[in-house]
């Protein structure tokens, strides 16, 4: 049991972990492009007591306690996997609510007991909305097959493209914005559908997602030797990798995928995502332009923004600990040059109140943008999209505008298609294109567009043009 816990903790670095009383672990990475959810049934443990007998019935409407622990702290508990495998006999996890401590006790050989008291803070649920059962494509494989496949890619390879066709499944390394094609190593690996335990392909697909995260997931799956299921749809929609053949626990990993403009021309959602993608490409190669459906329910996102700016909403049993959270995030912001530009631009523009999601793009930089809890789905999706790409809030917001398909009329959609054809792959679309989405008929440089009053429009970041 410990091994499994160790592996899962090992791979989810730099995430915030959420704990549920019935022992589920959820984490999301800093760019919100990868989400993991593991649910442990009581049978996973040798002894499980959720203390529900002690809970008053009117304590909270949701059952159980939700709290989050800094991932780094969790990882220190399981720092040395080999020594844990060697010497730890059992592990006892208790929640010390009065002192806000999550206690890990490792009972080792020779009568040694190691106790780790990790501070936690209460939080709301982090929930990704994904429907793995409704995806047209599904692959089931033993992790060994995929491990052998991904080992062929270079260690520093960031992203991989999965191409699913009825006759073969291919894995290709994804090359992003490479100036010199001669300097690039292209790796492609073909797998026969028969090699998979189960192969159901409804739609021919080509999706690109993060290889590093896939490697981590495969590493975990290999340790527990359970087959993994990959549920996916098309570029832009997330890929869900799940391990649920074991009765004792269930793991779901949701990874964002890149939206590929060459293949998607008709769907508005994809188009809007493409815009964002192009922008991101030109701006920064580092940040992945993911537009996934990983979204947080309103409470949790606001929790994040609140958490870093405002103390009133959540109980704070350990103030110093929160400061550490803030510091981590601040550190990430300060170290990222693009983010500064973002915040600068952010402040120049009036947040668009008309758009349904008026949430700040970056949870930390603009915490005062309304934290209204929107219950309708589309805005929340958009807001999470923005959260996906903290570098370029504007683009996501623009993307969001066209997002609810019902608001776009037919003519606008046609316009989009035409313009899309005009774009050169790998370069940002023309400014005229952008203006069409927003119903503005300007074709000047984006400097002007930026300064336009916002009605249904989000002004584009000036940085984009500077980088071109």
């Amino acid at each position: 049991m410990l091994e499994i816990k160790d592996k899962q903790h090992q791979k989810l670095s730099r995430c915030i972990m959420y704990l549920l009383f019935q022992f589920a672990l959820r984490t999301v990475n800093s760019t919100r492009s990868a989400y993991a959810y593991m649910l442990f049934s009581p049978s996973f443990f040798t002894h499980y007591d959720d203390g529900s007998a002690l809970l008053k019935s009117n304590d909270s409407e949701d059952e159980g306690l939700r709290c989050k622990v800094n991932m780094k702290s969790m990882l220190t508990v399981f720092k040395s996997l080999s020594s844990i495998e060697r010497s730890v006999e059992r592990c006892k996890i208790t929640l010390n609510t009065p002192e806000a401590r999550l206690v890990f006790q490792l009972y080792c050989r020779h009568g040694i007991v190691k106790t780790h008291n990790l501070a936690f803070i209460e939080c709301e649920t982090l929930q990704a909305v994904f429907s793995k059962d409704l995806t047209p494509n599904r692959l089931t494989a033993h992790p060994k097959l995929l491990c052998d496949a991904v080992i062929n890619f270079q260690n520093n390879q960031e992203e991989v493209t999965l191409i699913a066709k009825p006759d073969k499944i291919s894995l290709k390394n994804y090359v992003d914005d490479e100036p010199d094609p001669k300097k690039v190593v292209l790796t492609e690996m073909h797998l026969d559908p028969n090699e998979f335990d189960n192969c159901q392909l409804g739609v021919d697909t080509e999706i690109t997602f993060c290889l590093k995260e896939l490697r981590a997931i495969l590493g975990f799956a290999e340790v527990i030797s359970l087959p993994i299921n990959m549920h996916f749809e098309r570029a832009g929609r997330p890929i869900v990798i799940s391990i649920d053949s074991d009765k004792t626990f269930e793991a779901n990993f949701v990874l964002a995928t890149l939206a590929d403009c060459e293949n998607q021309t008709t769907h508005t959602q994809s188009v809007s995502q493409n815009t964002s993608k192009h922008r991101m490409k030109s701006q920064s190669k580092q940040k992945r332009s993911n537009n996934s459906r990983v979204k947080s329910t309103a409470p949790s996102t606001s929790d994040r923004s609140n958490g870093f700016g405002n103390n009133t909403k959540n109980k704070r049993p350990a103030p110093s600990f929160d400061e550490e959270f803030e510091d981590d995030f601040d550190e990430m912001i300060c170290n990222d040059p693009t983010v500064d530009q973002l915040s600068r631009v952010e402040h120049q523009n009036i947040p668009n109140k008309n758009t349904t999601a008026s949430r700040s793009t970056h949870p930390v930089t603009v915490p005062n943008i309304s934290h209204t809890r929107q219950s309708n789905t589309p805005p929340l999706q958009s807001s999470s999209e923005r959260a996906d790409s903290p570098v370029i809030p504007m683009q996501c917001e623009t993307a969001k505008i066209s997002f609810p398909a019902e608001t776009l009329n037919q003519s606008e959609m046609q316009d989009l298609d035409e313009d899309l054809d005009d774009t050169i792959p790998g370069t940002p679309p023309s400014k005229k294109f952008r203006s069409m989405i927003f119903g503005l008929s300007q074709s000047q440089d984006s400097q002007q567009s930026k300064n336009k009053p916002l009605q249904n429009v989000q002004v584009l970041a000036e940085d984009t043009d500077e980088d071109d």
Binding site: H110, G111, I112, V113, T115, H116
Partner: protein, 282 residues
């Protein structure tokens, strides 16, 4: 024949001559206390004692008794000099660190007297290296005044289990708290870092504990940065003795076995971390 008599004549000019078949016996021990650049060497008919200190709070002593050497002559009761330990170690390992079985570096150390350099002659596979290291004026070394009569708690245990704990100490914690008690939890090491607190409890019933003599419950805190160098010595050792006295001073003694199964000792003394305004001290 003439060569050896010649050598003996040459050697007579030195106050101290020490010969050793395997320089690693010395270099390994010295590495265990190498957390400072300079060390004070005390030579006596009993052997060598090498001392390093830091912050006037921690002191490490390495004892290389004369039985380790296959020849050890000394003309005075005590010879003291200070030397750059980093340079000394570099010279001792001049033929490299790799331990190929069968190939050893032989060492001859000579010291002519006050102000004279320490001479090292190292030979491996008929390649000879001569080193001459300047010696320095010895500083006063701390006397921790740690006598066994004042020892309150003493635990002797095997090093294995501690090695892991010490190497995984939470370095974000400023202090390491050591609790020794005749009652549960018997022996506990605690750190208080950014991620929370961590305790490691060792039961006295544990088969790792060879001797457990604790008379009173004592909790002492030591700066973790001062104790971190002990990890190296711990890694080399097979057994460790942990003692605290009535002032809270900590004495760690490590028994190290070298390649020829000879036993050497390394000990660390550390002053407790006082939170009050009065001087930390001994």
């Amino acid at each position: 024949m003439s060569l050896s008599t010649q050598q003996a004549d040459n050697d007579s000019q030195y106050l101290m001559v020490a010969k050793l078949d395997n320089a690693r016996h010395v270099s390994t021990i010295l590495k265990a206390i190498h957390f400072k650049d300079t060390a004070t060497i005390f030579a006596s008919p009993m052997g060598l004692k090498v001392t390093t200190e830091d912050a006037k709070c921690v002191q490490a002593n390495a004892f290389i008794q004369e039985a380790i050497f296959h020849e050890f002559t000394i003309k005075e009761e005590q010879i003291i000099f200070k030397i750059n330990l980093t340079v000394l170690l570099e010279c001792l390992t001049i033929f490299g660190n790799s331990s190929v079985p069968g190939v050893t570096t032989s060492l001859k150390m000579c010291y002519a007297g006050y102000g004279q350099p320490l001479l090292l002659i190292l030979e491996e596979d008929s390649v000879v290296t001569d080193c001459s290291i300047k010696t320095l004026e010895p500083d006063e070394v701390l006397d921790f005044d740690f006598c066994s009569t004042n020892v309150i708690n003493k635990i002797i245990m095997k090093s294995e289990c501690l090695k892991e704990v010490f190497s995984e100490l939470d370095m974000t914690s400023e202090i390491l708290q050591i609790l020794m008690s005749p009652d549960a939890p018997y022996f506990q090491l605690s750190t208080f870092g950014n991620s929370g607190s961590t305790q490691s409890d060792f039961s006295k019933e544990s088969d790792m504990v060879e001797s457990f003599q604790c008379t009173k419950t004592q909790t002492n805190r030591y700066k973790i940065s001062l104790l971190k160098p002990t990890v190296k010595a711990l890694g080399l050792s097979t057994r460790i003795s942990i003692r605290t006295d009535n002032r809270g001073f900590l004495s760690l003694q490590y028994m190290i076995k070298n390649e020829d199964n000879q036993v050497c000792f390394v000990e660390f003394y550390c002053a407790p971390d006082e939170e009050l305004d009065d001087e930390p001290g001994h």
